[in-house]
């Protein structure tokens, strides 16, 4: 992929990012923080690729360290965000309680 394509994609991704994130309700700002945090754990893809190309043991060691770190970011991030979002519940998750006192 050439430089211009990558630049174009970056510019459009910036617009998408700002537009989408600015719509996130402020109720969910903590999960947004941890969810976005999880997303950058996808650097794991890069770590896997460099680890898979490594022939020198030192390079491999460093790459595997990157894999461990990235995995921790990715897995931990999604798990903790899920835990947090699980707690957000509407009135009794259903409608039964809607008529209750408020």
């Amino acid at each position: 992929m050439d430089g211009i394509s990558l630049l174009t994609i970056t510019v459009l991704a910036v617009f998408v990012g700002f537009e989408v994130v600015s719509k996130v309700s402020s109720t969910l700002h903590t999960p947004l923080m941890s969810g976005a945090n999880a997303i950058h754990g996808i650097i794991l893809v890069g770590a896997i690729i460099v680890a898979g190309q490594a022939s020198d043991p030192w390079v491999l060691a460093v790459a595997l360290l990157a894999v461990v770190l990235a995995t921790a970011n990715l897995v931990g991030g999604f798990v903790v965000t899920d835990r947090m979002l699980e707690m957000f519940r509407g009135r009794s998750s259903g409608r039964s309680d809607r008529e209750g006192p408020r």
Binding site: M33, G46, A66, V67, L85, R102
Partner: protein
């Protein structure tokens, strides 16, 4: 083995990127948020699977083992951590992500001859390292492994400037010649810069720093996307960069301050450190029974939670109190200020944990006009977010920050432990007003007593 051709690889990476975008779209309502997060996780799985299937990889057993280790470390922590420790955890995950990006960039240096790519590598090295070290210091502060007060020493700005200058030099060497030793140096300088950046920030300004470092890691990942020509990393990193930027700005705005002021204010002599001076002026304090009577015979009660509720872990008791009052036919809502507590949206997570339905969590703009109709505003461990000084005294550090208009309610009850001010370290005139009653004590204890008394009414 390489099962996927380049076209399929690119398509699958693009699909994973779209899943990430949809994950963030899901967060625009609590109803779709959890599904959104799962969509994001699916995107991550798709991306990782594509990486395995597309490239001709050596060392696959090692890589799988490393993934297993990472998962084994992170998943249990993520599953068990207390909600109050969330900021630390986010800081930790953020740091390791930044570190991984820096390491990937370091190893890619040998594979390229293109100066533009090396520019992206230098950027990733520096920013990833700043993010790693900065997050580590943040973590240490929040976990109270070190003092939470701003650490400032003379010459700090000079050292910082020196480090940055050296980093520019090393960066130029990396870009022009692609030298590995300079790249390692750049990494080390980035670590130093990260430490120096966060040291002078006061413990309570830390959430803004976390969010900023989150954006940094996003940018580092986006830059590694450029390095590897990988659309998934590019898009994902950019999304995170945008989200971190927006959150940082939103927090700063809700605190009525500028991001630069928070970061660099400390260099010039003082992050808001939270004065703890205790006032001696007379106030009207009361006991749990009287507060219970006030609440129990009201028609409408608005509960304003703040940092103190989180510290006291009183959210479940607060939710029970709300229920008990609702059983008496009283209309009860929670008024959530965007920067109440110490993280953006802190109170929402806290009360969601206590099973308060999100319809009862009212945003500031939504509820502010309704305090007029409330009989009692019950302020539990909040202070700055209800301090009228934000509107009246232009010299105050919180001047300009939008507040919850509790003063409009017929009666205001504060639950706090002492006459100490809140995070911003300034007095709250509302505490001395005739309509205000104080109930001293730890928020959870006080709530428990009030709850008992309400039930006994």
């Amino acid at each position: 083995m390489s099962l996927l051709g380049p076209t399929w690889t690119a398509l699958l990476y693009l699909a994973a990127a779209v899943l990430f975008i949809m994950a963030l779209m899901g967060l625009n309502s609590p109803r779709t948020a959890r599904r959104g997060n799962l969509v994001g996780a699916a995107g991550a799985v798709l991306g990782v699977a594509t990486a395995f299937l597309s490239a001709r990889l050596e060392n696959i057993p090692w890589i799988l083992a490393a993934i297993a280790v990472g998962t084994a470390v992170a998943a249990p922590v993520a599953r068990r951590v207390k909600m109050t420790q969330m900021p630390q955890l986010v800081a930790a995950f953020n740091g390791v992500g930044g570190g991984a990006a820096a390491l990937v960039a370091l190893l890619e240096l040998a594979h390229t001859d293109d100066a533009w790519v090396r520019l992206a590598i230098a950027f990733t090295l520096l920013v990833g390292a700043v993010s790693f070290a900065g997050s580590a210091v943040t973590f240490a502060k929040l976990q109270e492994l070190m003092t939470t007060r701003p650490v400032v020493f003379p010459g700090l700005p000079v050292i910082m400037a020196g480090v940055l200058l050296a980093a520019v030099g090393a960066g130029v060497a990396v870009v022009l010649a692609g030298w590995l030793p300079q790249a390692v140096l750049l990494l080390v300088l980035g670590l130093a810069a990260g430490v120096l950046l966060v040291l002078p920030v006061g413990g309570a300004d830390v959430p803004i720093v976390i969010s900023l470092l989150n954006a940094f890691t996003g940018l580092a990942v986006a830059a590694s996307g450029l390095v590897l020509g990988n659309v998934l990393l590019l898009v994902a990193g950019t999304l995170v960069g945008a989200s971190g930027t927006i959150l940082t700005r939103a927090m700063a705005a809700a605190m009525g301050r500028s991001v630069a002021g928070i970061l660099f204010g400390a260099f010039r002599g003082g992050s808001t450190a939270g004065s703890t001076a205790v006032s001696e002026r007379p106030v009207r304090s009361s006991n749990a029974e009287d507060v219970a009577v006030l609440l129990g015979y009201a028609q409408r009660v608005i509960i304003v939670p703040g940092y103190g509720l989180a510290v006291a872990q009183g959210q479940h008791t607060a939710a029970e109190l709300a229920k008990a009052l609702q059983m008496r036919g009283i209309q009860v809502d929670f008024a959530i200020h965007p920067v109440a507590g110490r993280m953006p949206g802190h109170m929402n997570v806290l009360l969601a944990e206590a099973n308060v339905p999100y319809e009862e969590l009212k945003e500031m703009t939504e509820i502010n006009s309704e305090f007029k109709t409330a009989d009692v505003a019950l302020v539990v461990g909040a202070n700055d977010v209800v301090n009228p000084a934000a509107k009246t005294s232009s010299g105050s550090p919180i001047y300009g920050m939008p507040i919850l208009e509790v003063a409009d309610a017929r009666q205001v009850v504060f639950l706090k432990r002492s006459m100490r001010p809140g995070f911003a370290g300034i007095e709250n005139e509302l505490l001395y007003e005739p309509r205000t009653t104080l109930l001293f004590g730890d928020a959870k204890d006080s709530l428990t007593k009030v709850l008992g008394a309400v039930k006994a009414l």
